[in-house]
Amino acid sequence: MIATIWAWLTDPANWSGAGSIPDQTLEHLRLSFIALVVAALIAIPIGLYVGHTGRGRVVLVNIVSAFRAIPSLGVLFIAALLLLPRLKGELAFELPSLIVLVLLGMPPILSGVYAGIQQVDPAARDAARGMGMTGQQRLWRVEVPCALPLIFSGLRSSMLQIIATATIAAVVGLGGLGRFLIDGQANRKYDEMAGGAILVAVLALLVDLVFAALQRFAVSPGLAPAARR
């Protein structure tokens, strides 16, 4: 079994041309990044607002847990059914998948940003206010930099969710590594299925490593656990 999976993964025929491993990997990444960017653009400002002002805390917590309960495949089919007749071309297939991925990617970012801002030392916030920083200055110069570790972990778990879930885009005919899973199953080619699953896992791991590197670069050493007493 392992030998046949290895054979599939290393078969040169699978590494070139349309529908090849590099091709589907790029497609998978493209969908995932669009979804992450859209999710972040929506979730970060909301998280910052709630964290900074403390307003709407309860609503946010409820929304986050509600979103987490969403069955992704169900939403995908509903979105596809509703949108297919109204949209033309590639977008008609892509949009339902993107909606699912964005919905799924938002909760970790929301709670990461909100929790990050919330856990900033109250004394530091108080000092910032007392020395004459405006609300915006406090947010950008104190709260956000101090929240970065949790903001990053929110983004990372969101990205992992999105990459894992992007495989279901293949169900409605889109590209991406999910193709190998769906097509493999349809053709009873289990080496292709297992190979596809491994590729998804490896991709998720590599992308997470990139994020970890970014985080190291962006977060102040003063916030590293080693710098704390």
Binding site: A127, A128, G130, G132, M133, S220, P221, G222, R229
Partner: protein, 368 residues
């Protein structure tokens, strides 16, 4: 000068947190607000820089009504120090201290030069600038907090329980340094504490507040100890206030010559009398008993260090304490750190008897 005029703060219904408080904090002085927990000290302090808006009344700084100044603007001109320092953990010590000058539009180079200057002032030279707050002790963090508040050279500084969370030894040092700094810079300081000893040590004037932010007494520390206005103040100031009042009294006390023995050399005198050991610069190090030293050179291991040391121009309390705490019964007195002689407890007590008392009231008297 900071003037609170009939200032009241009511949070919700119920009793006010601060009730009709009128108070003047003199320019170039340390004014301490002291009182039990929940009596409205923090609220009073934070109304001065408008972190809390008064329900009624006015607050003037040098004649200017603070309500007329935009809040953020006002705060950038007032130093602010709080209990847990509130340093920014993501910024180095240097950048923490540069914060307010930068907010005030100073260039980077000028702000950095100034930051290094004030760090030096608070006793954190050189290498500390590059560290992060998480790498400092509580006392050091508090020093950085003071440096940060002083960086833009404010004429007014507000301090809310600045030393309460620091261990007692570090606290002593911080208090002494604050007194020295304030003396050098002439900053007008309003300081909040629940610790009456700290209030008496630091304050030029002390305002004792009672529950509901009502002023119980506002006077000099010596006066507070000698004449508590009522039972609440007397109780709050504490039992041994007569003894502590001696901190503010000075009187001539005879200083006897003391023949010291140098550290590191064998004794030339025998007997069982206590001898005072000094270092090369004649600074007192501790007491030795010849019987314990024998023929060996006098070493640090022979020293009895129980006694406190008083300055020749120190208070009667310091002199009495030196005499009472000395194992030999001779209180060590120094001038600029160098041995000046010793005093005897009975002579200090005689001086206390002879010293003039405020308003002719005996300080040992309980109020009638």
């Amino acid at each position: 000068m900071i003037r609170l005029e009939a200032v009241t703060k009511q949070y919700d219904e119920g009793t006010p947190a601060v009730d009709n408080l009128t108070l003047e904090a003199g320019t170039g002085e340390i004014t301490v607000l002291v009182g039990p927990s929940g009596c409205g000290k923090t609220t009073s302090l934070r109304m001065i820089n408008r972190m809390i808006e008064p329900t009624s009344g006015r607050i003037l700084i040098d004649g200017q009504d603070t309500a007329q100044v935009p809040a953020a603007r006002l705060r950038r001109d007032i130093g602010y120090v709080i209990q847990h320092a509130g340093l920014f953990p993501h910024r180095t010590v240097l950048h923490n201290v540069m914060t307010v000058p930068r907010l005030n539009g100073w260039g980077r180079a000028r702000a950095e030069t100034r930051a290094r200057e004030v760090l030096e002032l608070v006793g954190l030279p050189g290498d500390f600038a590059r560290r992060y707050p998480g790498q400092l002790s509580g006392g050091q963090q508090q020093r950085v907090g003071v440096a940060r508040a002083l960086a833009s050279d404010p004429s007014v500084m507000l301090m809310d329980e600045p030393f309460s969370a620091v261990d007692p030894i570090a606290r002593e040092g911080l208090q002494d340094d604050l007194l020295r700094l304030q003396g050098e810079l002439g900053t007008t300081i309003v300081l909040v504490t629940h610790d009456i000893d700290e209030a008496i040590k630091l304050g030029h004037r002390v305002a004792v507040l009672r529950q509901g932010g009502r002023l119980a007494q506002f006077s000099s520390p010596a006066d507070l100890l000698a004449h508590p206005a009522d039972d609440f103040v007397a109780d709050f100031v504490g039992r041994d206030r007569g003894y502590r009042a001696l901190s503010f009294q000075q009187h001539e006390v005879p200083v006897h010559p003391e023949e010291p023995v140098p550290l590191g050399q064998p004794l030339t005198r025998r007997g069982d009398e206590w001898l005072l050991a000094v270092d090369e610069e004649s600074r007192p190090q501790g007491w030795v008993v010849p019987g314990e030293v024998g023929d060996a050179p006098v070493g640090r291991e022979h020293l009895h260090r129980g006694g406190t040391v008083a300055s020749v121009d120190g208070s009667l309390r310091a002199l009495l304490d030196a005499a009472l705490s000395s194992p030999s019964g001779r209180g060590v007195v120094v001038r600029d750190g160098v041995l000046a002689g010793t005093v005897r407890a009975e002579e200090v007590l005689a001086a206390i008897q002879a010293a003039p008392r405020p308003d002719g009231t005996s300080i040992q008297d309980e109020r009638p």
